[in-house]
């Protein structure tokens, strides 16, 4: 009788979870967590650099120059995107937390998050990145 053919090891541990095909909610959560941790990391840096304004203004200006250089602007755009996504999706969560009936519409809310994100985020990104072209020209 024809037996099955062996196809090698199945993923174990975290690998198992990566093969799970979650829906919008799981993606939303993964982004939310990643962006939250990212923004948190930046804010540690940011409080420190603000502190430098009093302690060592030259060092602050040096950092400021890095922030406004072309690679720095790219970073700031990413930061803004993370913060903005996190804020919008955070509101999506808070709204459901306080009105559980809205969970029935979590997909619709998820779409609203992305529409808002791009509608405001794209022009915003343009404003931040514009100087790069101007420098290049």
């Amino acid at each position: 009788m024809a037996r099955g053919s062996d196809r090698g090891a199945a993923p174990a541990g975290i690998g198992r979870y990566l093969t799970y095909r979650g829906g919008e909610g799981m993606v939303a959560w993964a982004f939310h967590r990643a962006s939250g941790i990212g923004v948190w990391a930046f804010i540690i840096l940011h409080v420190f650099d603000i502190w430098l304004i009093g302690a060592n203004p030259e060092a602050y200006d040096f950092l400021g120059a890095i922030y406004s250089s072309p690679p720095g602007r790219l970073m700031e755009t990413l930061l803004g995107a993370a913060l903005f996504y996190h804020a919008l999706n955070g509101m999506r969560i808070v709204v459901m937390d306080f009105w559980p009936a809205l969970t029935a519409y979590h997909r619709a809310l998820w779409r609203i998050v992305w529409i808002t994100f791009f509608a405001i985020g794209l022009p915003g990104a343009y404003i931040i990145l514009k100087p790069i072209w101007e420098v290049a020209r």
């Binding site: 941790i37 603000i50 502190w51 200006d61 400021g64 406004s68 913060l83 903005f84 404003i127």
Partner: protein, 128 residues
Amino acid sequence: MSGRYSRSGRPRPVGSRVDLYVWYAVRISSLALFVLALAHFAMTHFVYDPADQSAEWVRQMRWSSVTLRALDWGMLMAVLVHGFLGMRTVLQDYVPSRLRRVALGILYALALALFVLGTQVVLTLKIG
């Protein structure tokens, strides 16, 4: 009433409300941050250009108003509450329980450090 039935497998709750307060604190601070953090970002990136914002500029323009200073300090507080309690959740998820106390200790120490640094600069930076 509690105590009558077995909870098979899970330890009996100690009646602590910490996690309840944390949950609400994260949510309420997020409402504050929604306004403050987004406004702050818009201000630094859209209203002005980061390239112009030297230490001198901050001292003379942005932080010349006590209100703006207070708002930024408020934002710092919200971030300490929100970001650090958020990170507490993340650590509770991924750090094995035997290391958790240490990890949370480091997290809270970091929060205290930021509180000190941030408050110091807000209070001591000369106006104008």
